[in-house]
């Protein structure tokens, strides 16, 4: 076994170069002033003060969390019944259905969102609804597949046992199917919420540039204004929030297992 552990080294190397190091640089930028070089290093909290001193930035953050939350709820509401129905089908049909759901993902997300732009451009929907439609469309497959996977690997004999013991369909679902599918639901929520909260091209393409989310703020400060320090501070604030919400959902997961 020990010799296999070595196989992880390239991955460790990969992680440290492409994930850990950039993260450290973001932290470094977030706490320093602009135009800094190594010789005249200056640390500061100004970037964070700037974020919280103007109501517009926390408002954008709130808006991002809100739309990500709504996206997740809608994906869950559509995704769960969908996954449940697929899991009830014959094995052959299941494979077909999952293939159909993943099929659009063979096409680049950006291209598909452009297609939605064409559809939604001439409608009178508000930018928020347009962005919401785009997000639900893009992230729904992640939810369905996660829930489906946990439903599909469920031991069917449990359902027969419940039936034998006199539980009706609703009770069986609430006491057996639902609890066993929770890990899939949690994974689905994570996979939908994370990209939704940080998405920046969906609001640009579908919101007509007038619907600014936190991802757009970050992009704007990095690319358009060249203010990497403030951009990093926003990224860091978002990263902390995301980590907190991940921690909470994990807690929910464990709590469920204990109960």
């Amino acid at each position: 076994m020990k010799s296999f552990a070595r196989l992880a080294y390239p991955y460790m190397f990969w992680i440290s170069i492409f994930i850990v190091l950039p993260m450290l640089m973001i932290v470094f930028y977030a706490f320093s002033t602009q135009g800094n070089d190594v010789l005249t290093l200056q640390f500061t909290l100004d970037n964070f003060k700037r974020f919280f001193s103007d109501p517009i930035f926390p408002m954008v953050l709130y808006r991002s969390l809100k739309i990500a939350f709504m996206t997740t709820i809608i994906c869950l509401a559509i995704g769960y019944p969908c996954a449940y129905l697929i899991a009830q089908m014959k094995e052959k049909d299941q494979t077909m259905m999952i293939l159909l759901i993943t099929l659009p993902m063979w096409i680049n997300m950006l291209v598909r969102t452009y297609a939605w732009r064409g559809i939604l451009m001439s409608t009178d929907l508000s930018s928020e609804i347009k962005v919401l439609i785009g997000m639900v469309y893009n992230f729904l497959p992640f939810m369905i597949i996660q829930i489906y996977t946990s439903l599909a690997k469920m031991d069917k004999s449990l359902l027969f046992a419940a039936h034998d013991l006199g539980a009706n369909k609703i009770k069986t679902f609430l006491r057996i199917t639902l609890p066993l599918s929770i890990p899939g639901v949690i994974a689905g929520i994570t996979l939908v919420f994370l990209p939704a909260v940080s998405s920046f091209f969906i609001p640009i393409l579908l919101g007509g540039g007038e619907y600014v989310l936190i991802g757009n703020l970050i992009e704007n400060y990095f690319v358009a204004s060249g203010d990497w320090n403030f951009g990093s501070a926003i990224s860091l604030i978002m990263a902390v929030l995301i980590m907190a919400s991940m921690f909470l959902t994990k807690k929910l997961d464990y709590g469920n297992k204990e109960g």
């Binding site: 954008v60 451009m121 007038e210 600014v212 704007n220 358009a224 204004s225 203010d227």
Partner: protein
């Protein structure tokens, strides 16, 4: 989409021409003449003729690594990271900043013999007095493009940039999604200088932009504006003159107008970074770009006004691609037009205000 196809075709074409030319190399030895045979060029997207680079490669037996930046600020950050390039094409305000921070080296006027062909009125500007560091590439203004079927020409001509306050054009306009360009429009609409530092004027400009947002609900876009206006999705926008030249040549319903109250006059120029790996070849490249045929091909393709006087004149003549195209004919010595100078403090303030306008 059209742009994407254009770019991919361009890449294919470049690939095929280099592949074909491999068999018939000429005898020119770049190592002997320049001491290097690779040139790293860093430019904005859609900003060079489709055959220009391959022609340079064939003529001099060198390889050109061509990279693209999305904004001057992106390019600046890349330079700060010690990335090595031989030729850059930044805008006036960025050149000024690069010079003051000693990122550039003087150009070699003994090599760049075509310098004399440049339009005299665009030489020796404040961003680089005496053109010690920079050689003009393209230049132009920022103006209003509108669809004559749906927008009253009289409104545009009477109101200038204030046409963006007209409620009857609600849902029909685009604004440029950049704090520089939007605040420039606001300052000029209000009759201020775009280089103002006056708090009250900045506040007024901010309120002007908020008013625009409320009155006509513009979509804030960048390069999408080109295709969207050509396809008549919306009818009114603020655009760069070179893009306008291309747009008006694609759709005859479009017209371009430069406000009498003045607008932005800008220059993009070729410069050589101080840490360039191959400065001699870089100077040769700049000279090559100024030669008549190359500059003609380049300007005709991208639609921006060539810095080479004869080329610009030919393209505006009855034989040229931009005959009677007022967008191509950039306005240079107009008293209310200004160059938008770099101001670090102001920049941050405008960036924050711009986010506020968009987030409303």
């Amino acid at each position: 989409m059209y742009k994407f196809i254009k770019v991919s075709l361009c890449v294919l074409l470049l690939a095929s021409t280099t592949a074909c030319s491999k068999g018939e190399k000429n005898d020119f030895d770049p190592m002997e003449t320049f001491g290097c045979d690779v040139l790293n060029v860093y430019n904005t997207g859609e900003y060079i003729g489709e055959n220009t680079l391959s022609l340079f490669e064939e003529t001099y037996n060198v390889k050109v690594n061509y990279s693209l930046f999305a904004s001057n600020e992106m390019m600046y950050t890349k330079l700060m990271d010690n990335s090595q390039y031989d030729v850059l094409v930044p805008s006036d305000y960025m050149i000024e900043r690069l010079i003051s921070e000693e990122f550039l080296q003087p150009i070699d006027k003994d090599v760049i013999t075509n310098m004399g062909a440049i339009t005299p009125s665009i030489m020796n500007k404040d961003y680089d007095p005496g053109n010690v560091y920079s050689v003009p590439y393209f230049y132009g203004n920022v103006g209003i493009i509108y669809n004559t079927n749906n927008i009253d020409a009289a409104d545009v001509e009477e109101l200038g940039f204030n046409v963006f306050l007209e409620e009857k054009y609600k849902g029909q306009a685009y604004m440029y999604d950049s704090e520089r360009d939007s605040f420039m429009v606001a300052f000029k609409a209000l009759g201020y200088s775009m280089n103002t530092e006056d708090e009250a004027e900045i506040q007024a400009a901010y309120e002007w932009l908020l008013q625009v947002d409320e009155n006509i609900e513009p979509a804030y876009v960048t390069d999408e504006v080109i295709d969207s206006i050509i396809n008549e999705e919306r009818d009114l926008a603020v655009v760069y003159s070179g893009d306008a030249a291309y747009m008006t040549s694609e759709n005859e319903n479009l017209a371009y107008y430069l406000p009498e109250g003045g607008t932005n006059l800008w220059f993009d120029a070729m410069v050589i970074p101080a840490n360039a790996g191959c400065p001699s070849l870089a100077n040769e490249f700049i000279n090559f770009m100024l030669s008549y045929d190359v500059a003609l091909d380049n300007s005709a393709y991208v639609g921006y006004t060539s810095s080479v006087e004869e080329v610009a004149q030919f393209l505006m003549s009855s034989e040229g691609d931009y005959f009677e195209n007022n967008a191509y004919d950039a306005r240079v010595d107009y008293e209310f037009d200004e160059v938008f100078v770099h101001n670090e403090v102001l920049k941050q303030k405008l960036a924050d205000l711009w986010i506020k306008v968009k987030s409303k």
